[in-house]
């Protein structure tokens, strides 16, 4: 009886050990197969370590800075995260919102200067990155930031409350990422939302009216958005335009490499950030 008991216990322990070993082995090899790096968007806090919850490999940066100012820090962060990956692993960047604009800038510069400045951080990132999954990318900014930047009085109040005017995130004609670089040269899969429910849909309604004439608005024409960004910005359209439906097509900023990938009407602009399955979406 005693012998059976000990045999049973030994078997259990052995199985557990084997299971652990198998698990460890498969995980460690899997881990080296992929390298996903998350880059957050605009945040009211300067450092946003909780932006994606406890999802790993997040690049923390000061999103109240303009694209050119923030880009070196973001690039440094991406390179540091790449250090965690196997040398030959395909690298996928997963930026959200304003982060997508900064990532497009870094890759675009890396693409442009790969021959002339081969050792620059932007070029190193361009060389190692294989894909980008852009979650509601702010390629044209948002009219909401226009309000923040509107005039000195509003700006003073808003800056007092901790929100700064970021012109690269406004709809400014000279500051958006599309005026700085054209092609990132990396396949970019666009994930966008048209859910408008936050704050009772107030900001969504405001954006729905953006670029739409009074007459057409009365007739029911709405510029699609996710309460934060107009759809044309998230879909990386070459020019600002009215998009009546999520399926509306536009020529992309980077027509060869950008493509519409996934549309959701269930998650708003900020809702999916901490859902691991959503953030690691791929085909």
């Amino acid at each position: 009886m005693k012998a059976i008991k000990y045999l049973y216990l030994t078997t259990l322990l052995l199985l557990s050990t084997l299971s652990f070993a198998k698990d460890w082995q498969s995980k460690s090899s899997d881990e080296y197969a992929r390298c996903d790096i998350l880059i957050h968007g605009f945040s009211f806090k300067k450092d946003s370590d909780q932006y994606f919850g406890d999802l790993p490999n997040q690049v923390i940066w000061d999103s109240s800075e303009e694209i050119e100012v923030a880009a070196p820090t973001v690039a440094q962060g991406i390179l540091e995260k790449m250090e965690n990956c196997a040398h030959d692993a395909p690298v996928t960047l997963r930026p959200h919102s304003y982060g997508a604009a900064v990532v497009h800038f870094i890759l675009g510069k890396g693409n442009l200067f790969q021959d002339a400045f081969p050792d620059h951080p932007y070029v190193l990132i361009y060389k190692r990155t294989t894909e980008v999954y852009a979650f509601t990318g702010a390629y044209h900014g948002t009219p909401l930031m226009d309000v923040v930047c509107a005039n000195r009085f509003t700006r003073a109040i808003i800056e007092l409350l901790g929100t700064s005017c970021v012109k690269g995130l406004s709809t400014s004609e000279i500051d958006n990422v599309g005026t700085k670089v054209t092609s990132a040269g990396i396949p970019t899969y666009l994930i966008y939302s048209t859910k408008r429910e936050a704050y009772l849909g107030t900001t969504g309604l405001l954006l729905a009216k953006h670029m739409v004439s009074f007459k057409d608005f009365r007739k029911g024409l709405r510029n699609q958005n996710d309460d934060t960004l107009p759809l044309y910005a998230a879909k990386g359209c070459a020019v600002k335009q009215i998009m009546e439906s999520p399926d509306a097509q536009c020529e992309k900023l980077d027509p060869y490499f950008m493509e519409d990938f996934y549309h959701t009407n269930e998650y708003g602009h900020l809702e999916f950030r901490k859902i691991r399955e959503f953030m690691y979406m791929t085909k």
Binding site: L15, D23, A89, G178, T179, T182, Y256, K283
Partner: protein, 370 residues
């Protein structure tokens, strides 16, 4: 006797404890195979990338039109019943990305095939901006002459904004005010009811970024809008075309002479048109250019035209010139329209030898070796 009974009891209890611990141990590991957020997976060697291979596929997420027909939304599934998460599938995105990469693997890194739009025209050609008041009755249409303006020495430049105001679709005279980001006001001239002009000449324009805020008031309605303008000193002046056509390798080239106003490193981007449509963009970095006249030879690799069998007249439509520093910051934003056209070229005359783009080849290898 009592002692042996006590010993048996202790032995049984300890055995049960060991079994229990082992069962818990097994349970944890069995669970860890199904869940990435398991106890042990968070203690992996490479903590930063736990179980990233367990990715979710786009197909696993239903499209909106599909979700609307379902009783339970995807969000409900994810939040209320994590065990009903869409199953992870092996990744196939690589093939999609690989296909994209394969189309450019035989092109040089500075060559970008274009779609239907010309990115430089989009960037530099102003469009009308419409703003509406809160009560939606008053509208303000702004059409600037430039987004980027370059000041040339001894040459007068003008920045103009045309303003149209309407109340319930009728042109109306309104109270208008314009000021920049520093609060400096600018005068506006009325042309006719509902149409105003703002004009600034070179002496009023200093290099830098300007953000003009426009406010219009009519009855109880108010509307505001803003325009941005970047003013730069001119970087170069086009002197003359020298030559264009196919070089000895069968690559398309355009050779022009420019006067560089400052020494430094420059990034030049050119847009090529074919039959009135944009077809390709190339870039070139000129390092340590001296002040004074210099030649620029911009080349489009012939393989693209040979492979796609594109014949006809080719036009170097325009250039964008920017100055670059060591941090890769660019300055200047100068747009030069050239409209320099070649004679008729047959696709068979172009270079048919593929370019070997090693960086793209390396990306393809990394995506396919998994």
């Amino acid at each position: 006797m009592k002692q042996s009974k006590a010993k048996k009891k202790i032995s049984l209890i300890s055995s049960a404890l060991v079994m229990g611990v082992s069962l818990v141990f097994c349970f944890i590991f069995i669970k860890s195979e199904n869940s990435s957020l398991s106890f042990f997976s968070s203690r992996e060697i490479n903590f930063n990338q736990f179980d990233q291979n367990q990715v979710i596929s786009r197909e696993s997420f239903p499209k909106n039109n599909q979700t609307s027909d379902r009783n339970t939304s995807l969000k409900d599934q994810l939040h209320s019943n994590p065990s009903r998460l869409p199953a992870a599938e092996p990744s196939h995105t690589e093939s999609r990305s690989v296909k994209k990469y394969k189309k450019v693997v035989n092109l040089p890194p500075n060559f970008i095939p274009l779609g239907k739009r010309d990115p430089l025209t989009d960037k530099y050609s102003p469009r009308t901006k419409t703003a509406l008041g809160e009560d939606e009755s008053l509208s303000l249409n702004l059409l600037p002459s430039h987004y980027f303006l370059n000041l040339e020495r001894n040459k007068e430049e003008t920045y103009r904004v045309s303003l149209r105001t309407q109340y319930k679709d009728r042109p109306v005279d309104v109270r208008l005010s314009v000021h920049d980001q520093l609060g400096k006001p600018y005068p506006i001239r009325k042309v006719r009811p509902g149409l105003y002009k703002m004009t600034l000449n070179s002496s009023e324009l200093t290099p830098g970024k300007k953000y003009f805020e426009f406010q219009a008031r009519y009855k109880n309605s108010e509307v505001w809008s803003r325009l941005s303008l970047e003013v730069n000193q001119s970087l170069v002046r086009h002197l003359r075309p020298i030559d264009q056509g196919l070089n000895a390798q069968g690559n398309l080239f355009f050779n022009h002479e420019f006067l560089f106003h400052q020494e430094g490193t420059y990034l030049i981007e050119g847009i090529l048109y074919h039959e009135n449509s944009p077809i390709a963009q190339v870039s070139k970095v000129l390092k340590n250019v001296p002040q004074g006249p210099s030649q620029l030879n911009l080349q489009f690799h012939g393989y693209f035209f040979s492979q796609k069998k594109i014949s006809g007249h080719f036009q170097l439509k325009s250039l964008q010139v920017r100055k670059v520093d060591d941090a890769l910051k660019t300055f200047g934003n100068q747009w030069i329209e050239l409209n320099s056209e070649t004679s008729y070229l047959s696709w068979q005359q172009f270079n048919s030898r593929a370019y070997e783009n090693e960086i793209i080849r390396n990306k393809i290898e990394r995506l396919t070796q998994r």
